[in-house]
Symmetry: C2
Subunit: 760 residues, 2 copies
């Protein structure tokens, strides 16, 4: 409220100052109809910004940086080449750079009121206007929806989302004739091409379509064209999409009867918690169009109350996305995701600024903005920069949290548990969500595990080097399908060496796991548990993971319990993709003279079998070393369980895969089965002092002390002599329910789903 008053005061102050402003004077006659700029920058916003220039450090710094960048581009001259290349190639990167520059130059024109920027935008727009009408479809043929400037309509849509903003900024600078020429020859055919002419791209629920819808919607808002806006919001009324039609990544175009358009893309992929079903990497990608269009709608059509749509899911999703990161701010790579992407990306800068401005000035967002070190050059960025200047930021504390998946929040979810370790935060990410549309992986009940920003048990992520041309044009590599999406590439159960749902997208897409429990009320025993009964018909998987702080351990440890109930005998594999250097194993194993792939299909063909062993003492422990720390995974195993050391990289003719290790526990000819493990982080190695501390596991033995249809109890014996017992109710997670089991004639009673006690 205080900020708003300040701004109001400044606006009044500004009105007293005479500003020579061509953009303003030219536009005066159209004021009634629609002001420009009005989408992201607004006339009032621009006045506020101009009044504050020189007094808001982060805004000023961003402005200076953008100015330097654009000035350099202007002096280099305009280049609008005939489209030819894939991403990573010259024409692709040039057109991408152009739309980014156009948007920035438009903003600079408004803020600095310097015509050279308007002229630059104008000249480049007319270079496109000249080329576009005669452009054929892009020569690269890989996409299911080829663009004209780029190899896919997706990138063409990116272009229009940014360029609409530039057009809005110079709208009043252009003559009516100029605008007409641009709209007739460039913007309208451009919007029609990515919508009418590519319904298979435009009429979907998918991040691609979000971009398409928003592109059309943004230019509709600038051109004040309500019919085009309707197309953006609700999609095309008719199209020629065939049932079962797929895109070039194998993703289904559309379920029958599915709603389309921008609002449908808000309705369906976002859960009520603001979790985007494709996962955080694509949520990040979609956030920019979602939020920038929402901001534009809020400015131009405030009566739509778009930010209140679906209980304000858009603003909620910003916090959700920020929580889906490790200690370094990097997104958990759920589904298709390139590692390293983080909340330092430009999409998250917009998100944080828009979230702060429209979402009630949450001061913890300012600390993220501070880390980002950059703001949007609009009202929202100004507000953030003022907040930071005035020292209002508070820490953004990530907590243990569950995010439901599905439009109504009833299609499983993602559980994140965080606990303070001796020097770094431990984070567990367990996935029991829906498929995640075409970017989904077959990884029901999988997990990943972090210590600070370091991966301990990794999710492989995707097999793609985004925008690196040498690697398949920077696009998805075939190994994304043959490896990265397959179940064996994840830290979860594989039955009979086949992926979940037989690796069939349609089946996967109509199924989801069921949350059983997410209880983090006790900071010392945080539990997440979920069931999956559709991945393998006839087999029920129930995984329970607890992050336990126990004074007998140096750090919180992970207890992992997978219960399998099946109608027939199967082979079960449970891989753990640990990262680091093998230190020791508690069991005998052999390494082969030559390496062979572990299997022939479903991802197994990409794993070399580096060793195999068995244990005859009921436990198998593997220790490794990474980032100056030691880790030990101790598992309950039977004499017949095969303990396999594997590594990615087999059948990899283009060296597209990393060479990462895995430890796989295999149970053959099993019907019902349990996989129970404890994962510890312990000790430290200082390579300068060459001193190793606490290099050995604290686990002496773990055992399943009790199991029946309804309960399981696992004991964890520490080398210091203490023993703890974790008891769990498998079919009733009610908070107040009383339970009892008897172990060796001793009765144990508890209330609620689980009980963790020290018995020794």
């Amino acid at each position: 409220m205080k900020l708003k008053n300040n701004i109001r005061f400044l606006v009044v102050a500004l009105l007293l100052i005479t500003v020579s402003c061509k953009a303003q004077s030219k536009s005066s006659k159209k004021l009634k109809q629609q002001e420009h700029p009005s989408l992201i920058l607004t006339k009032k916003g621009v006045q506020d910004i101009r009044a504050q220039l020189g007094t808001v450090p982060l805004f000023d710094a961003t402005l200076a940086k953008v100015k330097e960048e654009v000035d350099l581009e202007i002096s280099a001259g305009i280049e609008v080449p005939i489209p030819k290349d894939f991403s990573g190639g010259y024409t692709h990167e040039r057109h991408k750079r152009n739309f980014l520059m156009l948007q920035k130059a438009g903003v600079l024109y408004q803020i600095l009121n310097d015509e050279k920027y308007a002229l630059y935008v104008k000249e480049m727009l007319f270079a496109y206007e000249k080329m576009y009408p005669t452009l054929p479809v892009h020569p690269q043929e890989r996409s299911y929806a080829r663009g004209k400037l780029f190899w896919q309509c997706l990138n063409d849509s990116n272009w229009l989302v940014y360029v609409s903003q530039a057009y809005d900024c110079v709208y009043d600078y252009l003559s009516e004739a100029e605008r007409k020429k641009l709209e007739t020859n460039l913007f309208r055919p451009f919007a029609d091409y990515i919508s009418l002419e590519n319904p298979q791209f435009f009429n979907r629920v998918h991040n691609h379509s979000t971009w398409g819808n928003v592109a059309v919607g943004m230019i509709a808002l600038v051109m004040n064209d309500d019919k085009l806006l309707e197309r953006a919001l609700y999609g095309l009324k008719t199209d020629n999409i065939k049932p079962g039609q797929k895109d070039n990544d194998g993703g289904l175009i559309r379920k029958e009867g599915q709603k389309v358009g921008f609002l449908a893309n808000l309705d369906e992929p976002f859960s009520p918690d603001g979790y985007y079903t494709e996962g955080p990497y694509y949520q990040r990608y979609a956030m920019y169009p979602f939020l920038v269009f929402a901001e534009a709608l809020q400015n131009v059509k405030p009566e739509m109350k778009i930010l209140e749509y679906k209980n304000g899911v858009l603003l909620k999703s910003i916090n959700t996305l920020l929580n889906l990161t490790d200690a370094d701010g990097e997104f958990f790579p759920l589904n298709d995701a390139q590692k390293g992407m983080s909340y330092h990306s430009r999409e998250l800068i917009s998100s944080v600024d828009i979230g702060y401005y429209f979402g009630g000035n949450q001061t913890e967002l300012l600390s993220i903005a501070k880390e980002q070190g950059e703001v949007l050059l609009d009202d929202t960025g100004l507000a953030v920069a003022i907040g930071l200047r005035d020292g209002l930021e508070t820490p953004f504390i990530k907590k243990s949290v569950e995010y439901t998946d599905g439009p109504n929040g009833d299609q499983g979810g993602v559980g994140i548990i965080r606990a303070d370790g001796s020097d770094k935060e431990i984070s567990l990410v367990m996935k029991y969500s829906a498929q995640g549309l075409s970017h989904g992986h077959y990884d029901k009940l999988s997990f990943s595990y972090y210590e600070g920003g370091n991966e301990v048990i990794q999710d492989y992520g995707m097999a793609r080097f985004v925008n690196i041309q040498q690697k398949g044009g920077g696009n998805y590599l075939k190994e994304n399908t043959t490896w990265a999406k397959q179940t064996i590439a994840h830290n979860t159960i594989v039955q009979n060496e086949t992926s979940h749902f037989g690796g069939d997208f349609e089946i996967g897409n109509i199924n989801h796991s069921e949350k059983y429990l997410f209880d983090v009320s006790n900071p010392n025993v945080q539990v997440v548990s979920a069931k999956e009964s559709n991945a393998y018909p006839g087999t029920e998987l129930h995984r329970t993971m607890a992050v336990i702080k126990d004074e007998n351990f140096e750090n919180p440890y992970l207890l992992d319990i997978v219960k399998i109930k099946a109608s027939s005998e199967n082979q079960y594999d449970l891989p753990y993709y640990y990262l680091g250097q093998f230190m020791s194993a508690s069991f005998d194993y052999k390494v082969p003279t030559n390496l062979k792939p572990l299997g022939t299909k479903n991802g197994y063909q990409h794993l070399w079998e580096e060793g195999e062993g068995k244990s005859n003492n009921e436990n198998a422990a593997l220790s490794w070393f990474n980032n100056e720390r030691f880790y030990t995974l101790t598992s309950v195993v039977g004499e017949n369980d095969e303990l396999i050391f594997a590594r990615t990289g087999a059948k990899d003719p283009d060296f597209n895969l990393r060479r990462d290790p895995a430890f796989i526990i295999r149970k053959q000819h099993s019907k019902d089965a349990y996989f129970v493990s404890v994962l510890e982080s312990h000790g430290h190695y200082d390579p300068v002092a060459e001193i190793a501390t606490n290099a050995f596991s604290a686990v002496k033995k773990i055992a399943i002390l009790y199991s029946d249809e309804n309960y399981v109890a696992v004991s964890v014996e520490n080398v210091n002599g203490s023993t703890s017992l974790f008891m769990f109710s498998l079919n009733d997670a009610l908070k107040n329910k009383e339970h009892q089991i008897k172990i060796e004639d001793k009765a144990y009673n508890w209330i609620g789903a689980y009980n963790y006690i020290n018995i020794n």
Copy 2:
């Protein structure tokens, strides 16, 4: 000079202050004979320190840290267990911690004048005095010279070097009877055990013996025993060492007729440039005893002028060692070396402080000390901390430099070339030294290459996890011999799949490469060149490496020319251990279905063959990606050259090796041959913006345009159309010599060994 005056003033000031000091009053009667402390701390130094307490931030901070550490140990109580374990094990680490604590407690007693520290030292010394006389030889049998407290005499010597200092500090606190008891039951037998009873350990030129000599020398100085000191300085006059006798790592104990003792260990392994023949990792290890004993000798026997010995080689060696580091201060891992060791180690803290104090207060050492963030608690550390407090530090700039090897500097050397890259420093390390004693690797003319602190072409280092007990007790692993020392583990020529000198230590140990040229006078073309004619009898290897700054390239590039002249046909392999993700290759290759080892012995058994190709266009280019940068190696190859992709990890039953990639160029059935390559660092990838810049090599083609007995000329054609030519005289490197070659009837004239010109 100013500093000294200050100190003198403070000393006078101190004399006016009455200090209650039991240590001082007790010792007064012995002052004439020998003051205590007198080795590292001196009576006068202690007075200076006490006078400055509270005014020198870094000294005060170090003191507070040490005090906290020792106080914690004192409250935990004294533990002197019966020796049992290897390094990494409990008893080993406990005794190690004890000697470090004893030394620190002694210092604290002197500086803080608090009896509790003297008492702690006294009690622990008597615990050792009680145990030592009945101790058998250490139960672990691996060492050629087993200790009593530790598994090897080396660690026993470490103990005595530190504990002598503690004894010196509490000498006057103890009664004469107590001293006699300690000397009779502990110190003298201890010194005798590591010398008289282990001549094979004591009477060598080796870092082991340096520790042994210094241990005996230090305790001799405290006990004022000139005969024992003589033993330390000159070794045992007689011993029972047999010719050809070896240690447990396969190192020769002693060459016949070789001098021994501390002075011989200074004479022989150090070159006049201060390069220690075992390499920087072991130089670091030896620096502490070398310098601490030198400091003690300087204090107790200044007439010896030990710091002027051999032209002041000890002080010189400090700068040499600091220059043998990458941009992060980590030592280049020449010979046996664990990566990650750096000038932040405690040995280098002593070195820098002692070097500053005794070496004329070089202010650039202060900037290293600042990074170290810690000083010695003695006169030298005080001087450094005062220098830093007074803001005297200047940057420590590492330059291109050559260090000769051998006692007289005539046994080859190590050439380091550094050049500024677009954002990071490029460093080339070429090794053409002597064998490096028992820690030497068979890697004549090998190299490693860095960009900032990142390895681009790595030296594997050693196969050992120092002090990590799970890994062979923290000792050398068998793969150190079968892999890490072998020639194929390095970036140099392997003939007929055998290592240099047939992997025979005795032969290697009497040979060295010959420097041909080290010329860094032109910052744009820095050249190092050396020859090796003994590694493979009948074959002469001549490698020339130039780091070239050329405006047609984004970064300085490396030109690598290996000329081979042989008397018979051979197979030659040249591996490049690049680090990172394969991006692309310019040639066709196939990957096998199953992986087989590349060979059966000499290290080849540890390499998996991951792929093999051939090129029919005269060049082979391999691009990879690491740490957000791209790299390309382009090589001149013939149609029959085999291009092999390999990876470490074969025949590795204990998973002791890392899984690192290599690219090997193989020429079969060749007599004379050339290996010519260009290595570029180029471009950048930003995982947050997902933008790749300059991802492709700038090299269009490289070719040998001319070669005869005396000259070689290599052309490097850039994709931008420019071509440069590097001409080199192979047999005459004289500065002023004129040369001429004709290429396609065009004459090229130049003066000096090389010429680099743009011809297009």
